[in-house]
């Protein structure tokens, strides 16, 4: 199909022989009802593997969660709700035992993979064993590594009957199921038959799931094409095709959108948004995104050992200014590490109003009254020209701190980031989060220091760890919320381990003829909802 088209394109151009063979093969039917069409989204970078437990990243999840299903999934079609909640997927329903340790899933009947093989409890267990049971033949240590945050809680799993699957955790954990809705490591179901056929390595090239879209082709670093799965068990997708086209350059993406070569763009700059909206393009924002952009302090940095310095830095940042000038309505100032996409979020939490004078006073107390404090801030090369980091640099300069930005290319950065900061580096930057508040624990727990986790700032407070431990065992979300907020308060006000700066409202710009698109409370979207009028 599309694959053949692309091949013809090459051969045709090279030989200028085979004429218009290509045309007509992809003859999309004229849109009558509210369905059909091809949505083409320009993705800014390469996607990872199409093998859910081995894949990582928001971008990749955008495609994989359309091809594959998990037992449950996030409800991303209700943007009006504060945060995304779970809804049934391959499990029609589930129950959690009294002690909070046993999860029982009633699986949907009659579900078939795209290759025609059935889905059942055996398949579910096979998939869970692949990333959590080292004794299983299909066990994959990389999958286990990715899903470590999820699999580490699993004690055992078993097939109760053909349509009932049960998982027992090592301790009560009420956020566990939703933790699985992360993008880096996805507990979604692949077809064991396809796995047998292609092998553990090459299965990533032949993704076979149960999802609303089927995999058509993937041209590495160029594009990914999915087509609607008409045999989908749920509400079928409206689009005929979903295309993810890789366009790295932000200016090129906008040009392609204007030229009508794509119809969806994410992360445009404010300037482009204003122009595009003027030109009739649609803008969708999502204020409840489960991630915060922050700078992490290196608690081992000599100058930052003094909490007054850390506090002063937090006070010196004009977060509202970032929201107003850098984000221009596409984001919001944040003062804590709990994100707006989680139930524990407190929208009124703002302990650090912009106070450069206060910051100066604190710095003077700490012995930096005349400036002379030079800090290195490692940042990564990202689409928006490091705008907010530059803003921090400017704000800190006003209170006498010379912030040196060290911009690194992403892979170099990631490598350094995962190793944790050496004493020479004062801060590094990241934007991350989950739709559950437990995520913060990953960046703060004492036992998550590198290489055993991502707590690269070497923060440690056992009191905070205890609060998290208590929170995940609390079924009542109101109670848990209190615990999380307390942990957050300690992190931010007593220990001051981070500089949360803002949350990004994931602006999406769509061509006028894209209908029904929902900008859900995540960094990936539900592509079964939109259609494109042609």
């Amino acid at each position: 199909m599309l694959r053949s088209l692309r091949t013809v394109a090459l051969a045709g151009a090279a030989t200028v022989a085979g004429a218009a063979l290509a045309l007509g093969a992809l003859d999309t039917k004229p849109a009558k009802a509210e369905s059909g069409g091809t949505l083409i989204w320009s993705i800014p970078a390469a996607m990872s593997l199409f093998d859910p437990p081995q894949s990582c990243g928001w971008l990749t999840k955008n495609a994989t969660h359309m091809i594959f299903d998990g037992l449950v999934e996030l409800e991303l079609g209700k943007p009006e709700e504060g945060w995304a909640t779970l809804r049934p997927a391959l499990a029609e329903s589930w129950t959690v035992s009294e002690d909070g340790r046993t999860y029982t899933f009633n699986l949907r009947k009659g579900v078939k993979f795209h290759d025609g093989t059935p889905f059942n409890a055996e398949v579910a267990k096979w998939n869970y064993d692949r990333f959590s049971n080292p004794d299983a033949p299909q066990y994959n240590s990389v999958a286990n590594a990715y899903l470590n945050f999820y699999a580490r809680w699993i004690e055992s799993s078993r097939v109760v009957d053909e349509h009932t699957f049960e998982i027992v955790l090592i301790q009560p954990h009420y956020e566990w199921l939703q933790i699985g809705q992360s993008s880096c490591g996805q507990p979604e179901m692949i077809s064991p038959t396809a796995w047998e056929k292609h092998g553990d390595q090459d299965i990533a090239l032949h993704p076979v799931g149960t999802g609303p879209f089927k995999f058509v082709e993937r041209e590495i670093d160029v594009m990914v094409v999915l087509e609607r799965n008409d045999d989908y068990y749920g509400e079928p997708a409206k689009l005929d095709y979903m295309v993810y086209r890789q366009i790295t350059d932000p200016a090129t993406r906008i040009a392609a959108l204007r030229a009508g070569e794509i119809n969806m763009v994410t992360e445009p700059t404010w300037d482009e948004i204003e122009n595009l909206v003027d030109e009739g393009f649609q803008l969708l924002l999502q204020p409840n995104v489960p991630s915060v952009w922050y700078a992490a302090f290196n608690m081992n940095h000599p100058a930052l050992q003094d909490v007054r310095v850390r506090k002063a830095i937090n006070m010196a940042i004009d977060r509202e200014g970032v929201a107003r000038e850098v984000l221009r309505g596409t984001g919001k100032a944040e003062h804590g590490m709990l994100s707006a996409g989680t139930f524990a979020y407190d929208p009124d939490y703002a302990p650090y109003p912009y106070d450069p004078e206060g910051a100066k006073a604190l710095l003077a107390e700490a012995g930096y009254g005349d400036g002379g404090l030079e800090l290195t801030f490692e940042i990564f090369d990202y689409g928006w020209n490091e705008a907010w980091e530059k803003w921090m640099q400017r704000d800190l300069k006003k209170v006498g701190i010379d912030l040196k930005l060290e911009k690194l290319e992403w892979m170099t950065y990631l490598g350094k980031w995962l190793q944790g900061m050496p004493e020479t580096v004062a801060m590094n930057s990241m934007g991350w989060g989950w739709s559950v508040p437990y995520w913060t624990a990953h960046a703060t727990r004492c036992d998550h220091h590198p290489p055993n986790g991502i707590n690269g700032g070497w923060y440690c407070n056992e009191k905070v760890d205890a609060l998290y431990q208590q929170a995940i065992q609390t079924e009542d979300q109101a109670e848990a919320t209190k615990l999380y907020r307390e942990a957050n308060r300690i992190i931010m006000e007593e220990d001051v381990a981070f500089v949360p700066v803002f949350s990004y409202h994931n602006p999406i710009v769509l061509a006028p003829n894209v209908k029904g698109f929902v900008n859900g409370q995540e960094n990936w979207y539900d592509y079964t909802l939109p259609w494109v009028e042609e």
Binding site: A251, E272, E325, K390, L405, E406, K407, L408, E409, T412
Partner: protein, 308 residues
């Protein structure tokens, strides 16, 4: 002027080293004076030189003459020239274009000039020996350069940028490495052709040693085209450098060079075309100036061009 230096070779042999050195110095001085006189008569070249001196001065004194802090937003984002009292308007972050252009010159000139000069120096040494000695050495050097020719610059730049800290120094180093093969090849070709000139043979027959021949006959005759070529490369390198910054390997924010300013300005191309136009224009003008200077230098250094 047209008589070949080889005619002097008879007497060269009999001088003492000190005398020779003195004489060499004298010849060099005389050549320089003559060259300057020739250069000074070329109006375009002098104009370009004056312009570049001004640019360099502006760059050096940027901290004192810039009306605003180049990293500070002082106006509307993408404000057109004249708005907010900014002569050349604001960039996409609302920073003063004029001040940024002043400051940008520092980095731009640095990454334009330093790698070119460094690479020219290395290339002259390599190419001169390869071309003059010839044979086996020539083959080895040229084949190694071939390897570098065939090599993706980006990979090199990333590795250098990764091993060292990213920044201007890294940028300069990677561009230098990338430039050497191009200049070395020219040096080598020129050397080979100069080597065949009769006056070299005469000098050798007159008993001049290899270093003397290289320093006194080959080098001066080979330098003119190399200098001209290198001068025209400077503008190009300012662009290449900005390209590496574009890939995230070069200049660290909030610093900027002109090339990076062009690159950054793309984001507001429609609303604030001046944000790319001004730095782009400067790059073109500066390369033009360097090219004029190169032409003037060729005329000044090449005796044939001077009198013909």
């Amino acid at each position: 002027m047209t008589d070949a230096p080889g005619l002097h070779s008879q007497s060269v042999r009999q001088r003492s080293a000190a005398e020779l050195r003195r004489e060499n110095l004298h010849i060099m001085w005389r050549t320089l004076t003559l060259a300057w006189h020739a250069y000074a008569k070329d109006k375009a070249a002098v104009g370009a030189l004056v312009f570049m001196v001004i640019v360099v001065l502006i760059s050096i004194f940027a901290p004192w003459i810039s009306p605003h802090d180049p990293t500070e937003a002082v106006g509307t984002r993408g404000g057109l020239p004249g708005t907010d009292g900014l002569l050349l308007g604001g960039d996409m972050d609302g920073r003063d274009m004029l001040s940024r252009l002043f400051w940008g010159g520092r980095v731009s000139l640095l990454i334009g000039v330093v790698p070119t000069v460094a690479a020219t120096f290395i290339a002259v040494v390599l190419g001169l020996f390869a071309g003059y000695v010839g044979g086996w050495l020539d083959q080895v050097v040229m084949r190694i350069l071939d390897v570098f020719f065939a090599f993706p610059l980006v990979l090199l730049a990333i590795v250098i940028a990764g091993i060292l800290d990213p920044g201007v120094a890294t940028l300069i180093l990677s561009i230098t490495v990338a430039l050497v093969p191009y200049i070395a090849r020219l040096v080598r070709t020129t050397t080979v052709s100069v080597k065949q000139e009769p006056y070299i043979e005469a000098a050798r027959a007159g008993g001049a040693t290899t270093p003397t021949i290289l320093a006194r006959y080959v080098l001066p005759n080979m330098l003119a085209p190399v200098i001209v070529y290198s001068t025209t490369l400077i503008g190009l390198m300012m662009v290449v450098g900005s390209g590496l910054s574009f890939l995230g390997l070069g200049i660290q924010p909030p610093d900027a060079d002109w090339g990076t300013m062009v690159s950054d300005g793309r984001a507001v191309l429609k609303r604030a075309p001046h944000a790319t136009a001004f730095p782009g224009f400067i790059i073109v003008i500066v390369s033009l100036a360097f090219s004029f200077i190169g032409d003037g230098l060729r005329d000044a250094l090449d005796p044939r061009a001077r009198v013909r």
